[in-house]
Amino acid sequence: MQLSRDVLLRAYRQMKVIREFEERLHTEIMTGEIAGFTHLYCGQEAVAVGVCEHLDSVDKIISTHRGHGHCIAKGCDVPTMMKEIWGSSEGTCKGKGGSMHIADLDHGMLGANGIVGGGAPIAVGAAMAAKIDGKGKVSIAFSGDGACNQGTTFEAMNMAVVTKAPCIFVFENNHYSEHTGFDYAVGTNLDIASRAEAFGMKVWRGNGVDFFSVHETMREVLEYVRAGNGPAAVEFDTERFFGHFEGDPQRYRGEGELDRIRDERDCLKIFREKVTQAKLLEGADLDAVDADVMSLIEASVEGARAAPRPTAEDVLTDVYISY
């Protein structure tokens, strides 16, 4: 399907924001200013954006420990996210959650999640709620290839099938769970999608470094799920450009692997090539977006640095609503 200029520009911008957000964090983390564990989403941008471009704020998503991309794609405010990562009291979660727990329920973002496999069952519940409401809303569970081995993910898939919940399991296969390869940890000879299929779902597969593949695949998936056919699953083959967490020595990578994936499997390069070759957008259009994004990121970092810090009293708030 031919996408409009507006849609193309917005999608590119979203992917670029995620990319530069993460690239900047990668350098900022080395200075020691940012605390805690940070897992960067660089390389997988086409998945988050290709999926979320189809969603409204009433549709729900739940994310993983590698959550920044999903948050941005679902509409979370970028400067506020940056403040959260810096631990400011003005951050998305007032500095209580940090990188691994960014959530924005107003945008249908039910949270990044520090527990691998924690998200999928929650997505099923959100899908049940959507089914009760009967307005064609859906929920999306983003999971990694590692998370697909967790019992909670299996249970969630089966329960979604049994209850015909409008839940979409999006598996981002970046070939690694921490330092372990997909080939070792996922025992099936086939792929993750086939596993999901065995639970009784209709499944799709797509190229997770090509926005157009993700977007077109998700158009079909959403049409199917919004029509009341129950859950579905999609597997996207994608790449993780950085280590599992910041500080990972990555000795498990093959020789030249990182250069190769940056060269051949970069969703931003692929997007640019496709749209300029097809004369859908000019290089200058994209350059303008790039410049705009760089200043957004710069302003976000400056804002986060200057943002107010939480105080000792803040530890005690937000545990309960009333107590």
């Binding site: 564990f37 209580k96 496999g117 498990y252």
Partner: protein, 336 residues
């Protein structure tokens, strides 16, 4: 004596026990690190460096790198243990007992009782616990109070490399299930470790500082905090007994009661959440069994009843500190 890091003490003890007894096996996520990758097995070797080299030495049957499946990891440890093996299961973070709790609580902890004393389940579950890394609510918790409340489980919390060796050896050789909690902030700390077949029995606390005025009961990372306070106050002539529990189940009641009978003042310092905790347990013990020795109300230095927050300012406000411990000692001495 050899000087080594806490994490080396873990690795060396596992290594030696695996050499000594072929029934000892280890399993956990990424403990080999690099399986199924171009870098190959041991490209990384466990995120805490507590399993480096084990795979090369003992092979895939005994050093089992698992998918991300905590429920099945602990379940498999149960099955191994009921089948004559002595598994050491690793939970990368103690917080992940949440995923595997049925296998810990309803299975492992209850087999022997439910089966009328016929079974044994010699499993060790090692886990990295504790805050101080801004790792946020799901990667920072201290779960020993929770685990101590569960009958059938033994709970061990070493505070030094020597205690790691002595207690881990006992844990691996023990026929009951043992929860073995290693504080993340201790992994890089160093200390002397006795040579030879050094073991420490469970249920025997260690008096690390002796004084006449106040009893401070603690465990894990907090032991060092309490020692620093005791050393500082000793210069002012204030004497503190610092009791490192080493194991919270079994609990060395005698060591606590003996000390409180002398000092008449009890402070418990701990990193787990305060409600229904090891601290309330010890305060109750003393109220019950040493009431007449008490000269002042007991004091608990603990985090508040909240999750562990992320931001630096929040986490440090949340955690017990040497300042808070010192203030507690002064407060208990100033009572009346």
């Amino acid at each position: 004596m050899a000087n080594m890091m806490y994490r080396e003490a873990v690795l060396r003890t596992i290594f030696e026990e695996m050499e000594r007894d072929e029934n000892v096996v280890m399993l956990g996520e990424d403990i080999v690190g690099g399986m199924g990758t171009a870098g190959g097995p041991e490209a990384i070797g466990g995120i805490w460096s507590t399993s480096t080299g084990l795979f090369g030495k003992f092979g895939a049957n005994r050093v089992i790198d698992t998918p991300i499946s905590e429920s099945a990891i602990i379940g498999a440890a149960n099955g191994l243990a009921l089948s004559g093996k002595r598994p050491i299961a690793e939970l990368m973070f103690a917080d992940f007992i949440g995923v595997s709790l049925d296998q810990i609580w309803n299975q492992m902890g209850k087999f022997r009782y439910m089966f009328g004393g016929k079974s044994k389940c010699p499993a060790v579950v090692r886990m990295a616990y504790g805050a101080g890394f801004n790792a946020a609510p799901q990667h920072s918790q201290s779960v020993h109070s929770l685990l101590t409340s569960m009958p059938g489980l033994k709970v061990v919390i070493p505070s030094t490399p020597a205690d790691v060796v002595g207690l881990l050896r006992t844990a691996i050789r023990d026929d009951d299930p043992v929860m073995f909690l290693e504080h993340k902030a201790l992994y890089a700390t160093k200390g002397e470790v006795p040579d030879g077949d050094y073991t420490i029995p469970f249920g025997h606390a260690r008096l690390t500082r002796a004084g006449q005025d106040v009893t401070i009961v603690t465990c894990g990372l907090m032991v060092g905090f309490c020692e620093r306070v005791a050393d500082k106050l000793a210069k002012e002539g204030i004497g503190c007994d610092v009791i490192d529990l080493r194991t919270t189940s079994p609990l060395d009641e005698e060591a606590i009661l003996d000390s409180v009978e002398v000092t008449g003042r009890l402070i418990v310092v701990d990193e787990s959440t305060p409600r229904c905790s090891i601290a309330t347990d010890i305060v109750a013990l003393v109220a019950e069994k040493a009431y007449s020795s008490l000269k002042a109300p007991s004091v608990m230095v603990m985090p508040p009843h909240t999750p562990v927050p992320f931001a630096r300012e929040l986490e440090s406000a949340y955690l017990p500190s040497t300042d808070k411990i010192e203030a507690a000692v002064r407060k208990i001495l100033a009572w009346r």
